[in-house]
């Protein structure tokens, strides 16, 4: 058989043309990021409102997904919302005064403390947790924000976050395994959790 010197390159060129065409066809008419973020800002708030009862002030202060700097809008949050006086733990007071932390100590019973971790930006959106401590143990983790930049991220988050929470409740630390397929979410989750644990001291 005579060699066909450029056939492979031609097939590649055809494949690239098909890939590019598929990309254009699939993504045609999608609004750029800014428009989505602006339109979706209200929606993002709605989606997180169901996650945590009693953290309304924090949620109001939570950065929207388009804001790269997670800590900036939170400066006023603890003062505005947290009933500091009822917090029995002096340590949390100390950490809430830390300007970089997004802590909202918010104790409902004498022994229970809920701390909001830093909002960690991932490529698919922010992860922010509120962690409830009872004594020295972690009793509950709620996601205030999870990656929701696209439909698939939301699906992945919905699967991964409960699994990560299970891991945390078992491990009682941020030393948890990455969920396969949710690498970025897992990373953000770990960091937000660690920041909450660090604030608790």
């Amino acid at each position: 058989m005579a060699a066909r010197p450029w056939r492979g390159t031609l097939i590649y060129a055809g494949a690239v043309a098909v890939i590019a065409a598929a990309g254009f066809a699939r993504f045609a008419g999608v609004q750029p990021d800014g428009a989505i973020a602006a339109a979706g800002a209200a929606g993002a708030d709605d989606s997180s409102s169901g996650l945590t009862a009693g953290s309304t002030p924090t949620r109001a202060a939570a950065p929207d997904t388009s804001a790269p700097d997670a800590s900036a809008p939170d400066a006023s949050a603890p003062e505005a919302s947290a009933p500091d006086a009822s917090a029995p733990d002096a340590g949390t007071d100390g950490s809430s005064s830390d300007p970089t932390a997004t802590a909202a100590p918010d104790a409902s019973t004498g022994d229970e403390v809920t701390i909001v971790g830093a909002a960690e930006q991932t490529r698919y959106g922010a992860v922010q947790l509120s962690v409830t401590f009872s004594g020295d143990s972690i009793t509950d983790v709620q996601a205030l924000q999870s990656p929701d930049r696209e439909r698939r991220s939301m699906e992945i988050s919905q699967q991964a976050i409960p699994m990560l929470t299970q891991e945390v409740l078992a491990a009682q630390s941020a030393q948890i395994d990455t969920i396969s397929g949710a690498t970025y979410t897992s990373d953000g989750y770990r960091q937000s959790l660690q920041s909450a644990i660090d604030q608790r001291g």
């Binding site: 058989m1 005579a2 060699a3 066909r4 010197p5 056939r7 492979g8 390159t9 097939i11 590649y12 494949a15 690239v16 098909v18 890939i19 590019a20 598929a22 990309g23 699939r26 993504f27 008419g29 999608v30 609004q31 750029p32 990021d33 989505i36 790269p68 490529r123 698919y124 930049r149 696209e150 439909r151 698939r152 699906e155 992945i156 990455t178 396969s180 397929g181 949710a182 690498t183 970025y184 990373d187």
Partner: protein
């Protein structure tokens, strides 16, 4: 489509050429590629394109999916799957394997670039910061990096320029590492590929595709050759010089008929002797196998063909095959012209034997530079069914090309009503094909085999 061709006298006897069969392998490749595209289409959400980086990584994923599908096709093409060999033919399979190799390597590079640039845009970091970032976070990505390195090494070593400078052993040793490369790249697909992680059925299908490919390679490239080797126990019986730079190797073994080899076919032959172990060469049969014997006639085209002359009798031989569709089955008429040049006489000799036994009427034209080089000439005993026309002499000495349309028509006046089989060096093969076409032989009745 119907075409009207001015049929030369005698061509009316020709049975209608078999309709060009659409190869199942080609259809499978197209369907598979389309399935990959469709899978990507339904799995991806248009919303990823809300960030330009999202669109780039998504398109990059498609490039990666296509590359990893085509690499399976590529491996299957040369896995010696009997069904492919019969329906497509070894030489075309190898040719497609080479072409797709270029495609796959380029698609892999495209995938890597799109994932890095798209990821950097998504993460809002520089391209240089993105690389260590994804390597840290993505599962099995380091493995894939090593695998990609192997893909590039194998691709570059197979490029025309490099291939001419590399000896076969080095090239082959490098080429075999692609199996490791494919294995290493596989894990980042199923563990990190967003499409597979979020869809268990897709993931299962992908694992089945790769397992089946691996199984085909193991069965037909490893297990079966080993079993055959044990069963036939092939050994070199004798090495006989046939003329300047040409030797015949007689190989004996038990149950040689089980190969069901036809005249015109070739085997990949490996002599288990020092200096030959690393290489399997395609050698054509020069007789139809019989009485526990096969004969390969080899021209001194390369270092190894030359060294074959010194292989001692008793040397064990390992073969893969038979391969090739240069056989009597392809003839569309009862009259056949065989044209041999140089070492091409080997397969032509075996093909003539097969055709005469089957009752065809055969004319053999044998080209060589000098009459001493007309190897195996004595084996063509003239009979009503076989005419042998030796044509020695260089073109410059003769003053003309005996295979040009005029001289060829003078030697074989009824060429238009014959099937033409030609085997020899590429330029000679080209000349014969052109002359035969000019003399009215339809393309479907011209069969060619180039010497490796």
């Amino acid at each position: 489509m119907t075409t009207t061709r001015i049929a030369p006298v005698g061509a009316a006897l020709r049975s209608a050429p078999a309709p060009r069969r659409v190869s199942g392998a080609l259809v499978g490749t197209w369907l598979g590629s389309f399935a990959v595209l469709a899978f990507w289409w339904q799995a991806v959400s248009p919303a990823v394109a809300s960030a330009p980086g999202g669109a780039l990584t998504s398109v990059g994923e498609l490039a990666g999916l296509l590359a990893s599908f085509l690499v399976c096709v590529q491996v299957l093409l040369v896995a010696r799957v009997p069904w492919f060999e019969r329906s497509v033919g070894f030489d075309r399979l190898v040719s497609w394997h080479r072409s797709l190799g270029t495609t796959v390597v380029l698609l892999v590079v495209t995938h890597v670039l799109l994932m890095i640039v798209g990821g950097a845009l998504l993460d809002g970091v520089s391209v240089w910061a993105e690389v260590p970032g994804v390597l840290r976070t993505q599962p099995y990505l380091w493995w894939a990096v090593v695998g990609t390195g192997l893909f590039l090494a194998v691709g570059l070593s197979s490029a025309r320029l490099a291939r001419r400078r590399l000896c076969y052993e080095v090239w082959f040793a490098l080429h075999v590492t692609i199996y490791a490369g494919i294995f290493l790249a596989f894990f980042h697909q199923v563990a990190g590929g967003t499409h597979f992680v979020s869809s268990p059925p897709a993931r299962a299908a992908w694992i089945v595709l790769y397992s089946a490919t691996a199984a085909a390679v193991l069965v037909w490239r490893v297990l079966l050759p080993v079993v055959q080797h044990g069963r036939h126990g092939l050994r070199v019986e004798a090495v006989v010089p046939e003329g300047p730079g040409m030797v015949s190797v007689w190989v004996t073994g038990t149950d040689v008929a089980r190969f069901a080899a036809q005249g015109g076919q070739h085997f990949l032959v490996r002599f288990l002797a020092r200096g030959h172990l690393g290489t399997a060469h395609p050698y054509s049969l020069s007789t139809v196998p019989s009485a526990g014997r096969m004969r390969f006639t080899i021209g001194a085209l390369g270092d190894h063909s030359a060294a074959v002359a010194s292989v001692p009798p008793g040397t064990r031989v390992q073969v893969e095959g038979p391969f090739g569709r240069f056989t009597a089955d392809r003839a569309t008429t009862r009259k056949v012209l065989l044209v041999a040049g140089g070492a091409g006489i080997g397969p032509i000799r075996a093909l003539a034997e097969e055709l005469v036994v089957r009752g065809y009427e055969v004319v053999v034209v044998h080209r060589a530079h000098r009459s001493e080089e007309l190897a195996l000439a004595a084996e063509f005993t003239a009979s009503p069914r076989l005419a042998y026309l030796p044509v020695p002499g260089r073109r410059v000495q003769l003053g003309y090309d005996p295979l040009a349309p005029g001289p060829l028509a003078a030697a074989v006046p009824d060429i238009a009503s014959r099937d033409v089989f030609v085997c020899g060096p590429a330029p000679m093969t080209e000349t014969v094909v052109r002359s035969a076409r000019a003399l009215g032989v339809p393309a479907a009745a011209i069969h060619r085999e180039e010497l490796y």
